[in-house]
């Protein structure tokens, strides 16, 4: 469903991605690992369409369409969901209102009818329960005053509401204690299905004990320097990144 070809990206003249190639099939789960500054989050941002990056070369094709030509909201409606590393606070806007607007924008795009307030609430309550959150959360302003764990769980809740075809998790495990990690992982696992793919960006292997990847890719110095199955993650846990990622390149990238 997604093909990334020779993707080269820079920010303010600094090269961040230097030729990334990746193929993602429906139903698969890809973990992307790598040291700090290797370009993992940049890749997530590029997929979601965040501004401020210069695409120097390469292409991204999503369901046969040129993804780079699409506005971020169109990508979202076409089924790309990014669980943010740092979810943003929107004071005064309730999670319920926000999600209802979002869901209806997505449903409209997909040719479905908009949900009534009552139907929306029923659906939201049903989706929020397994994430160990109270329905009262829906009445709180988006991410405002949420703990780190609540923010991440809210991201997974939003993902389960919007039912994307490609879910991208950007360091969703950062700042989570072990119990919250389990809840988030269960949430993601419940969403796994043959027509839905995931890209899970993480620094540490521990998340992958809970969300088991089909493929593991190591990003170093702006390229995928190694790909393997879940055992690669375990090996990284034991040996670190230095044996695959050249130290000089790592330093240069971290400086960016």
């Amino acid at each position: 469903m997604l093909q990334i070809r020779n993707l080269r990206v820079s920010v303010d003249g600094q090269k961040i991605l230097r030729g990334v190639n990746l193929d993602i099939q429906p139903g698969s789960l890809h973990a992307i690992m790598g040291p700090n500054g290797s370009g993992k989050s940049t890749l997530a941002s590029i997929l979601a369409g965040r501004d401020g990056y210069e695409i120097e070369a390469g292409s991204i094709t999503y369901h046969g369409q040129d993804l780079l030509e699409m506005d971020p909201e169109i990508r979202a409606r076409e089924g790309i969901f990014l669980a943010f590393q740092y979810p943003v606070e929107v004071p005064g806007v309730t999670t319920m209102y926000f999600m209802r607007e979002a869901l209806n924008a997505v449903r409209k795009h997909r040719g479905k009818e908009e949900l009534s307030a009552g139907d929306f609430l029923r659906l939201a309550r049903q989706k929020i329960k397994p994430l160990g959150m109270e329905a009262g959360m829906l009445k709180r302003a988006v991410n405002e005053g949420f703990s780190g764990g609540e923010k991440k769980r809210s991201e997974i809740f939003q993902m389960s509401m919007l039912e994307p075809t490609l879910g991208i998790l950007d360091e969703t495990d950062s700042g989570l204690d072990i119990d919250a990690l389990q809840v988030v992982a269960d949430g993601v696992n419940a969403l796994r299905s043959p027509d839905r793919a995931f890209v899970v960006i993480t620094h540490y292997q521990r998340l992958l004990n809970h969300i088991v990847p089909d493929y593991v890719h190591v990003l170093g110095d702006g390229r995928i320097v190694r790909s393997g199955d879940k055992t690669l993650a375990l090996e990284l846990e034991r040996r670190g990144y230095s044996w695959i990622v050249p130290a000089s390149g790592q330093a240069a990238a971290a400086g960016a």
């Binding site: 979601a48 369409g49 965040r50 501004d51 506005d71 971020p72 909201e73 990508r75 979202a76 409606r77 969901f81 990014l82 943010f84 979810p87 943003v88 606070e89 929107v90 004071p91 005064g92 806007v93 209102y97 926000f98 999600m99 607007e101 979002a102 869901l103 924008a105 997505v106 795009h109 302003a141 939003q158 919007l162």
Partner: protein, 482 residues
């Protein structure tokens, strides 16, 4: 001028066809301002001698006054002799006969704002006799109010029908010598509204829809007086979310509120006068004096304003808290875009014991606009136990606009508690991207973020109006991001 007077006299002998709703055709006075102008206006309105004297006093005072130069706004000098002080409403013959003759762009804006179909014609200035619905609605309202003993009429009418009430209260809160623009208004005010809620009466409806239809042609010097007797309540709504165009650039209105023991007045404004074009050409200068006196014990006056229009806004709805335990509130959203300038805020003067005031101000600046909050909290020596809470938040969109806060505090009683909080934030690209990433387009995202920012103020507005105000904010800020 005498021929003009002759013509006018001929016209005024016609009967009022629609009561409060339409006025008779009138001529426009040539530009210029002197005592004769004041006398002419007063005579045209068949005013009693005391009112003429009152106007003249204001005028003589105005002549000695200087236009204030302290507000944080800039505009070319106003030539007060170049203005016509008696501009009559357009006659029905000059106005569009139906919606088909109205600028489609204006109609598209009404559509966006969700203005009910039956009101669009009236707002677009379609000749009133073509707007049957509005007329009948107005008549129904008027009967219902009369049953409750509520007086609600134009202030000119009130001068004739209830001279003792008008004379007692007019200028009692904003004296005719108060300030430059208030004096000007007192001298030449064209018309406005008078509301009187008798003792113990809860006004049976919000004075809103009715007024909205009547809000056209209120003229550039509008005068409003609302008196709430002991234990009464009224919610008054002024203005309209639909964009209002007016050929008069200078507007100087005065609003006076009086609340006696246990009375409550809730005054809500949505101001959307023409702000000028994107390059700052044209637009209304809006210099308004609004003040409420909480004269009675436990009385309460609450101002809520949503200011999105006008090229220049100069406006400080204030409360004088005289009665013990009286309460003053000010909730404000002021939006400036393009070249708009706003200097707005409030004054809370605590005189009685245990008086409390709350100020919540939300300023949003976009384009190359300038938005200032200016507020005074004054605690007088006898205001034992007075409390104030102020919160002033500013939001910037883009990096070419300005937000300023000028809080003034004067505390002369040691037992008083005064709190002031202020924040400035920039509408984040991060916030917009977050909402985009959930499928919400940028325009809706901006509207959602801004409305969230203003929530504490919007919830003070009457429900139906809050919905319109939210849409208005979105429309006012269209194109200001991305």
């Amino acid at each position: 001028m005498s021929s003009a007077i002759d013509q006018l006299e001929g016209l005024t002998t016609q009967e009022y066809k629609y009561g409060f709703v339409t006025d008779i055709d009138q001529e426009t006075l040539p530009p210029g301002l002197n005592e004769d102008t004041v006398r002419f206006i007063s005579a045209r309105k068949e005013e009693p001698q005391w009112l003429l004297e009152w106007r003249l006093k204001a005028f003589r005072n105005w002549q000695r006054m200087k236009e204030p130069d302290w507000p944080n706004v800039h505009y070319p000098p106003i030539d007060y002799q170049a203005i016509s002080y008696y501009a009559a409403p357009k006659s029905a013959d000059d106005r569009p006969k139906s919606l088909d003759e109205v600028d489609p762009e204006l109609l598209a804006t009404y559509e966006k704002l969700g203005i009910p179909l039956e009101e669009r014609a009236a707002l677009a200035g379609v000749a009133v006799d073509a707007v049957f619905d509005s007329v009948s609605v107005a008549t129904t309202f008027r009967e219902k109010l009369a049953d409750a003993g509520v007086i609600f009429m134009s202030i000119s009418e009130a001068v004739r029908e209830h001279p003792e009430l008008v004379r007692k209260y007019l200028g009692s809160v904003v004296p005719p010598t108060d300030n430059f623009f208030a004096s000007l208004n007192s001298a030449v005010y064209s018309d406005g509204s008078f509301v009187f809620i008798p003792k113990g009466v809860r006004c049976p409806m919000e004075l809103s829809t009715y007024f909205r239809i009547n809000a056209m042609n209120t003229g550039q010097f509008e005068r409003t007086l609302i008196v709430a007797e002991e234990g009464s309540y009224v919610s008054y709504l002024e203005g309209c979310t639909a964009p209002m165009r007016d050929q008069n650039q200078l507007h100087a209105a005065v609003v006076e509120l009086v609340a006696l023991d246990n009375a409550r007045i809730k005054y809500s404004t949505v101001q959307n006068w023409y702000p000028g074009d994107k390059d700052g050409n044209g637009g209304i200068y809006n210099f308004v004096t609004k003040r409420g006196a909480c004269r009675g014990r436990n009385s309460k006056i609450s101002w809520t304003q949503v200011e999105t229009g006008s090229a220049i806004t100069w406006k400080y709805p204030s409360c004088i808290l005289i009665g013990d335990n009286s309460v003053g509130e000010f909730y404000s959203v002021a939006v400036t875009n393009n070249h708009q300038q706003a200097d707005t805020g409030t004054k809370m003067i605590h005189i009685g014991r245990n008086t409390t005031s709350t100020i919540v101000s939300k300023g949003i600046s976009a384009g190359v606009s300038n938005n200032s909050y200016r507020g005074l909290v004054k605690i007088m020596p006898k205001a034992e136990g007075a409390r104030n809470f102020s919160q002033c938040d500013s939001m910037l969109m883009g990096d070419r606009c300005g937000a300023h806060t000028f809080p003034y505090l004067e505390v002369r009683n040691k037992s008083a508690q005064v709190e002031h909080e202020a924040t400035t934030s920039k509408i984040g690209e991060d916030q917009i991207f977050y909402l985009n990433q959930r499928g919400i387009e940028t325009e809706d995202a901006v509207s959602m973020i801004v409305n969230g920012f203003c929530k504490e103020v919007f919830r003070e507005l009457p429900m139906e109006f809050a919905v319109e105000a939210q849409k208005l904010l979105g429309v006012s800020l269209e194109g200001s991001v991305g």
